[in-house]
Subunit: 297 residues, 2 copies
Amino acid sequence: VTAGAAPEPPVPSVAIAGLGLIGGSLARDLTAAGWRVLGFDRNHATARRAHEAAAIAVGLDPEEPALDRVPLVVLAVPVDAAASALRAMLPWLPADAVVTDTGSTKVGIAAAADQLGLADRFVGAHPMAGDHRSGWEASRPGLFRGARVWICAGNARPAAVELVRRMWSAAGGHPDLIEATDHDRLLAWTSHLPQAVASALAATLRQAAVPPDVVGPGGRDTTRLAASDPDVWTGIAMENAGNLADALDALSARTHRLRDALRNGDRAAVRAFFVEARAWANEGSGPSVGPFSPPSP
Amino acid sequence: VTAGAAPEPPVPSVAIAGLGLIGGSLARDLTAAGWRVLGFDRNHATARRAHEAAAIAVGLDPEEPALDRVPLVVLAVPVDAAASALRAMLPWLPADAVVTDTGSTKVGIAAAADQLGLADRFVGAHPMAGDHRSGWEASRPGLFRGARVWICAGNARPAAVELVRRMWSAAGGHPDLIEATDHDRLLAWTSHLPQAVASALAATLRQAAVPPDVVGPGGRDTTRLAASDPDVWTGIAMENAGNLADALDALSARTHRLRDALRNGDRAAVRAFFVEARAWANEGSGPSVGPFSPPSP
């Protein structure tokens, strides 16, 4: 190396376990950003398709993933499969490799990583991007562009956190630190409650024998999430059961108040309901959500 | 007229009272389709802007709308203003002119038309198209393209019904007959419940101090309707209070069941909830909705 010339930075490399909507999209974006991406999926055919699409440089055997000296491993599997996937991967994990995930809940996987002795190199992550479709077929470039990515540092060493932040920035996301318990409580409201509400509306319409094609454009938006994968969401809801139940109670208090106002012909109360809803919709960016504590309903 | 040559059909003409999102968009489409459109709005400036935009041929004085010999008059005002607007227009209404409306509820305005002696020439209508924005500024061409338009014939003479159908077809909509009581019950589920759910979710998030910008793309879709005009929706909800309260009760039964399943750690019940929701979302066109009777929850 000539004095004064900075050494060429090594090509960053990463292994992604699970090439579905999130893992597949991340593989596409990181490869496009110049990263060397290894990938595997319990479904061999998925890794083959990802390789054919040039989204990954190398497809690994999911039974014996030769992770070699990869410095960063991403678990992109459903939340209720993450802990066991991590355990299964342990024998293949390079010493000092940083491990991260992409799940919608963060407390459970952090506890599992702790238990496996990975506390200093596990960094939880959760991109606020997705789709009601799932699987490799639903993956696409740019899914994370401009999306907030929650990062739960836990007890990981700073360099591990930095590597995960760098990966998400390379994929176009905006990393933002949050504690795992705050994350799960916040997400119960910002993501899991909307999913539950959309699903409850869809199930209610089904029971009432109202088919989707008589619903107007507004109703279609409100129920879009109902098409989400039931298994993915069962896992998320069970992982975050207490927080989601609290959020559902708060929602029920609202719908009951509206129902009572309608039964009582209380126009002022009905109007107040819609006024408060619009006030929220018209809010710009709100207060910091770091120390988040929703009031009881 | 030469024998054998059909007489040129007269240019269809219509007067539209209220040039907001619905009336303004209808004016644009009918003008584009070759209709002669007269328009007025309680706000004089709105009619002027519609005229400048060439959406209407003539702007009328809302206090003294010289309807002349217009054969068709459309009330495109909020549902709770429709009856009084109709009453105020009565002195100006040409004998035999057909009257129609665009409101989200149909029982109340039909009763008002009956009471004013217009039963044989009032035809209720309701396009399943809209937006959370309102007013002339939100109006646009093509809003009704491909949209179902519910037509409540009531006791109107067939030619009156035919004229209203023809108008909506000219605007790109698909007219479909329904009884007014069936319409209001159906709409409680397909439109008013989704609006109430989106608003309840938004109000719940506001109470929990969760600002809109931390909600992900799915949550944004689910809450999009919350930005709707509170006054418009107070009117609709009050007009359809009983049906909407029934629909809210059915929804609450669902959210309670999910809440209980979460509190009890009942994974099978949680999964069944999401499975049923997706089953609805994956339904194609459903059974006929003519004789619609939702089961009790």
